[in-house]
Symmetry: C2
Subunit: 392 residues, 2 copies
């Protein structure tokens, strides 16, 4: 293979399907619209762009959104680290970036003991992420710090990343205030006067990526909208993700999910460009099957892979970097199910050519737990992909 | 995706790489040649074709071999079962076929007890393979029958397949005599006067596929050669496989392994057509990394995936069906390693679009053991790929 993931001619062959998804998304945007909840500033921005606004629902023109994104969002951008050796570039022509599980309330220790997340465990997990060369971004909220007051968690997490690693990490989306605090801490700790000499002089760059999720179906909550604006206007980047559960918060078919998720992503990524042209954005379109019987998502399912496959093609066609998901699984311990399901999700992200792979190490229990054992196993396995000649 | 695995335009984009592998294989065939050991009839056949023969080494023309294969080998063919409901078609436009692990000396029971293979265990394993809808071919030598005299094993295995399942299975390559016995038993047990009405009237067909392995590097042993001839002249099919260990029986690089393995496959598949034009052949090109430290192959490695990827492209370019390998792993029990490594190999075979996937269920301990638990887990997981919309 001559490029990461899909080659140009393969993408060209997918064009008819991609166009159909785009058209279906455009129909959704125009006829159903997207809700932007409790954010007068966002509604006003859309009004200024000529969109029809009814209550908090905005009817959008997909062609216009794509034009805004293509005209402004960088096709690739740099993530500056605390030292140049750990700088990253995000995009099609650069290696995939791997970040740990994000958002686990619980932690499973080697030996099997399961604890609520804490500040001490968080710091151990950041040190673990730092120790694995394959984990190139130490992420964010690897576990929840239950023993730290909520108002202090964002800074406490940032402190851990800044003290224990020189790799790039991710910003806080707890609130715009917390985000600003983490951005300020990161800039204060990072004394980088030069960008790497092998980067283009005009390369887009930032230090922190922020996970901005829509609330499917077809909605954004106020905090996500305000964080999106704060990140863009603060000169930092966003991973704009639609994270659907098929049959619950998204259509039950993968084709339908792609159309809905792409519509949500378009709206969020265009909004970032409207707040600040040139904002680095990564598109994330993730769909888990949903078990109606157990009322929970099913991670590591082949449906997810099909959606990931087309999500990459959609993002390539749009010209923005794309997120993948790593070892997601419903397994309760790091067993054969965890290996197979998590591996299946990771392979889909790797083979499709995703640029930024979240949940690449440690995910257990449908994301409710981070496992030290699984973290090390997955990080070690990722190193195998760096063998020359390996399919990647 | 519009077809199984690679689409036409993706394959077209790979053409330059495929041509380089073909050219390197042709250089090997012409300059180094292939040894055909202890088989005067094979050497005589090559002499009749105008090839230069020195001792048991034959110097071959790759272009000529490809011409023979393209002119005679079917692009797809049918496998007739004991009843029409289980008939299979092998080739690019048909679903992948899954067969169990092949050749395991030992058996691991649910609960963990590990036993030497036996006739009773073999029959249990055939029944298990029959019970899973995803396992569409019950294979061959799922375990070794240590308690049956060697001269009776082929017929005892065939008896198990014929009594306990109506699905197609694979033929014996213990010896040409054993092969003939199994072919005769299968034909006696299978009273199929009609081919399926939805098959082309002139569709190539057979009942049994036989696993004919070269002996890398660049050699075929007498028994493989005599079985190849017996299968072809008996009207049955062959999976002609080069099964290399990189750095031990093949070059250490995937590019080198592809050239050597393709050269071996070309010689074997062409020979089948020379013995009987139109013989159904499936091309298998498998390469495991080899640990110089532990002196054993490493299964489920990303290098294997890269080779599988190009093996499919080479076979598509040649116009023959292609073999993939399923859940191969070095794991000693069905743990996270087994799930991850085995899943990685299976995923490579599925995504590349392999037509016949061997070792699809039960493989453990680098192939030295078949596990009932892993068999069921893998067979169940394969059923997930049959969900509409799944990537396959």
């Amino acid at each position: 293979m001559t490029s990461k993931g899909f080659g140009d001619s393969y993408l060209a062959a997918l064009t008819p399907q991609i166009r159909r998804i785009e058209q279906a998304a455009d129909d959704i945007l125009r006829q159903v619209g997207i809700r932007f909840e409790d954010s007068a500033e966002t509604l006003e921005m859309w009004r200024c762009q000529g969109a029809e606004v009814k209550g908090d629902r905005v009817y959008l023109d997909g062609t216009q959104l794509r034009s805004v994104i293509r005209a402004n969002a960088p096709a690739s951008f740099g993530l500056l680290a605390r030292d140049a050796a750990h700088d990253l570039r995000v995009g099609r022509d650069h290696p995939a970036i791997f970040a740990p599980v994000y958002g686990a309330p619980n932690v499973k220790l080697t030996g099997g003991q399961r604890l609520a997340g804490s500040r001490a465990l968080y710091r151990d997990l950041v040190a673990l992420a730092d120790s694995h060369a394959s984990i190139t971004n130490t992420g964010q909220m690897i576990c929840v710090m239950h023993d730290v007051p909520e108002s202090e968690r964002a800074s406490s997490m940032a402190q851990a990343h800044l003290e224990l690693s020189k790799k790039p990490f991710m910003g806080s989306v707890e609130s715009p205030r917390a985000m600003a605090e983490v951005i300020a801490m990161t800039r204060a700790a990072t004394d980088r006067t030069c960008t790497p000499p092998d980067w283009p002089a005009d390369a887009a760059r930032c230090q922190l990526l922020h996970l901005i999720n829509s609330t499917p179906p077809l909605s954004y909550k106020a905090n996500a909208l305000h964080c999106l604006r704060a990140a863009a206007q603060g000169g930092e980047g966003c991973i704009v993700t639609s994270y659907m559960m098929l049959g619950a918060t998204g259509p039950v078919t993968s084709a339908g999910a792609l159309a809905q998720g792409y519509a949500e992503c378009l709206a969020g990524m265009a909004l970032a460009q409207l707040w600040q042209p040139g904002t680095p954005v990564v598109m994330g379109l993730f769909a888990a099957a949903f078990s109606m019987q157990h009322m929970q998502p099913i991670f590591g399912d082949p449906l997810t892979q099909a959606v990931q496959h087309y999500a990459v093609a959609l993002a390539r066609h749009l010209g923005v970097p794309v997120r993948g998901d790593g070892g997601v699984t419903n397994a309760l311990t790091d067993d054969a199910q965890a290996g197979y399901e998590g591996g299946r999700s990771m392979f889909a992200s790797l083979v499709s050519g995703s640029d930024f792979i979240l949940h690449a190490a440690g995910w257990l229990e449908g994301g409710r737990c981070v496992s030290f054992d699984k973290f090390s196993r997955e990080a070690s396995a990722l190193a195998q992909w760096q063998v020359p000649g390996a399919l990647r």
